[in-house]
Subunit: 555 residues, 2 copies
Amino acid sequence: MVQYHHLQYAYTRPDGTEVIEDHLVTLQPILIDGEWRPARRPISTMQPVNPSTKAPLDDTYPVSTEAEVEAIVLASYQAAQEMRSIPPDQIADFLDTYAARIETRAADVVEMAHTETGLPREPRLNSVELPRTTNQLRQAAAAARGRSWCHATMDTKLNIRSKYAPLGGAVVVFGPNNFPFAFNAVSGGDFAAAVAAGNPVIAKANPGHPGTTRLLAEAALDAARACEMPRALLQMVYHMSNEVGQQLVAHPLIGATGFTGSRKGGLQLKAAADAAGKPIYLEMSSVNPVVILPGALRERADKIADEFTASCTAGAGQFCTNPGLVILLEEDTSEAFLKITAERFRATPPGVLLGERSPGNLAGSIAGWQAHGAQIVVGGHALSDGGYRFENTLLRVSGKQFLESPEALQTEAFGATSLLVFAADAGELEQVIAYLDGSLTACLYTDTHGSDDALYNRIEPGLRAKVGRLLNDKMPTGVAVSPAMNHGGPYPASGHPVFTSVGIPAAMLRFSALHSYDNVRPHRLPPELQDPNPTGEMWRFMDGEWSQRDAVTGP
Amino acid sequence: MVQYHHLQYAYTRPDGTEVIEDHLVTLQPILIDGEWRPARRPISTMQPVNPSTKAPLDDTYPVSTEAEVEAIVLASYQAAQEMRSIPPDQIADFLDTYAARIETRAADVVEMAHTETGLPREPRLNSVELPRTTNQLRQAAAAARGRSWCHATMDTKLNIRSKYAPLGGAVVVFGPNNFPFAFNAVSGGDFAAAVAAGNPVIAKANPGHPGTTRLLAEAALDAARACEMPRALLQMVYHMSNEVGQQLVAHPLIGATGFTGSRKGGLQLKAAADAAGKPIYLEMSSVNPVVILPGALRERADKIADEFTASCTAGAGQFCTNPGLVILLEEDTSEAFLKITAERFRATPPGVLLGERSPGNLAGSIAGWQAHGAQIVVGGHALSDGGYRFENTLLRVSGKQFLESPEALQTEAFGATSLLVFAADAGELEQVIAYLDGSLTACLYTDTHGSDDALYNRIEPGLRAKVGRLLNDKMPTGVAVSPAMNHGGPYPASGHPVFTSVGIPAAMLRFSALHSYDNVRPHRLPPELQDPNPTGEMWRFMDGEWSQRDAVTGP
């Protein structure tokens, strides 16, 4: 099954030596219709790099062709039809079994992810992200089993009943580089939500961690076979051209797409999906403004500096919710805060970045900010040792300068980098907020004695309207898997303000279609809409009330 | 306030005489920021025609300019901010008051709508559509007052809470020509849902019934003043160029758009809104397939012919849910059904069509079908007397021919016109269904003794996936305002399969954004997310259960 492939590569060792090596490498197969199949010709390939050592890794992965993707779509369409007769409990069993298989293979998966992403094994990969991922799969299993997610609505007088139903075509998932487990296209939130809602998944692995994705997909396939799920429940390719990706999200036989990644890539896919009338849910980029009011700084500048530093440098700053913009009033306390924060940034060891291009991208974003008046306070340079790294970096800019170039100064810098905006007064602070783009989150820090409250009340409405999640006295990087979470927000943070990509059951809604049944004979209704409560505990909206009762109709 | 304007027009009387008249006409003002304002120069105008007499009506209406629309957007943005501090009860009072004002002015409104649309005063306008409209406004009022629509979700352990909130910018509503009250941009389902969810509305009247829209907008303005709502709660223009319309739906300060109308117009607006990342909800076109199985015809062909004729010819066939495609098996019973249906079509007096272009559009659609093999069974011609009318029309085509040109034969014919497809066998029937576009509805007629059940089970999944609402033994034209209704469906019936444009509270979801609050201090939360239940009866999803209780948290 594994193909062999000649490959020559050149790289620079950490000690500066140039190396050229000639290898007979294995080309990894892709997962099509329940089987690992060798790549079809013409074969082009990609190869990951260990970002901690800058050395290429052993395995080589194919870039899939249009013909392969077409075969995958056809198989997924068949699977979508088969899913109609799979009971929710079986879907839930699959998700639970998959979570358990991941735990069984945890050591391998963590090691591979560490090698491919440079993220620390502990606590990040093994004790934080992996449990989060299995927890997410189990929450999705519970939602599938409980069925309340489908929002069964019954008008017993008119005999009209509705529920959210699977899409009838696969969900395409594009995973990001920064969460090799929790947002992985084969194991993350979009995967869990799509499957729990009754859809098969076509996964596009992130090229940054193909080996991790392979191991997870193997576990998923094992679990799917054990639970007798459709063959093409999960299919996976490692890479494809932009053109093939655009065809995929616009394909008449797919249901919808979930994408987490760069704004550029997201907008290209969005244009293709929109033109075809296919739903696409995007989580693209976000600067996540943090507004710290003067009373809070007078009260606990040290504590806030600690929290901010930890949040901004965690995961080498490569979180969607990284606090990339801090807004302060021009006051002595703000200058003092900047000073102590700069010290902490300097004292925190920079983490390894995800990819070869990361340091250059960061340098580019920073140069862009500088061109619009931002000044470096600390950091600003790539590091040459210890893998792909970049100094923890803070820049500052005045509110006036920000208002002159609000767009340029909101370019995302994906790393441990943040821009502090010093507003001259409350009015300018309000203006800066008015010019913010849509973000996933915004944080407001205030004192505990009420001295900031008037200003809070003045600026909160403007900030609230810009973001999906508003926080108080807390940094944005923790994204709890809670039904009340919103990991979404106004464009361009996401593609649609109604939807969240994290949080069960709300995230499942994205991968459904509203199905109404009008005068349909009782035995033909889906079990969720028949009179008896199918689980005895499912919540249904019956004649204006949420209830777990059976419906009582008929003679 | 009313402007005067010179206008010359030429028209042909019903008796054939050509008439040229010179008039000093009044140019109707538009509703901007709480005032009726004269149109700005450069002024171009439009003038409606009475479709029952083909005579131009007295009033002339301005085509609004980009500058006017910009002024409207700015005022609406201000109103959206003011709406934040308007309590739900006040919004509900406005909606109730408005419904009552419409009833007070019912005689004028019905007369104007009859004159502008040719729809019968009784029962259609006065006893069906007007009560439906006021009922819809009152259901929206009840939803606003009850607050359960906002889906308050509380995770009391993690102190994360979320709800659907107003968009922070106006909802733009484009009303269709065929429901002068119930889908009117100033009084219909989109208006009611948008306002009940806490948003101001920018209404684009349909050029087919500007006078009706003016009378309704006057009633809305009266009610808004009586209830002390923001000045720009409702603003209204009569017409604008396509370019200005596209700018409007993409404007950074609007929230979202609801559009009901033609596929061509809808897709133009969708492209503009999509490119700007603005939500747009479209209800565009639908052929609404009706599948009648052999047992049903053996059992009750006469009754079904009656139901089908009534549904297809009601409102001169100008319903979004008009049954435009009937699918039958090639059998004697099907031929007999066609024969008796053709008699009924011939015997039913054709109604007046909405506009001057309606007969030509219908003739064009029919010619298109004929070019792909359809044969006229009855009707097929425009009528020269009694206003804009067209014969009730049936065409037939074989399943084989349908499968050769599925796209051309699914072009919507907006009138009392339907295409009957005769499938050779069950396999071909299945194929025809597989080639259907997304529709709002599909109907399945079967016998009551079970002889059709095997075929029902075979074809139902394919049909179910294509539509928003599936019916049994019932024609699609009744669209109840029920929480379980789905007046939506897969593209191109609508723009997104999750949403419905009819049905409170589900329709309100479209005009909202998901707002999550993470660790926000209790007194800063919106009342719906604070611990005490704000009404004592509001439904909230608390820690996994739907409940009307207060939340119990804290020490």
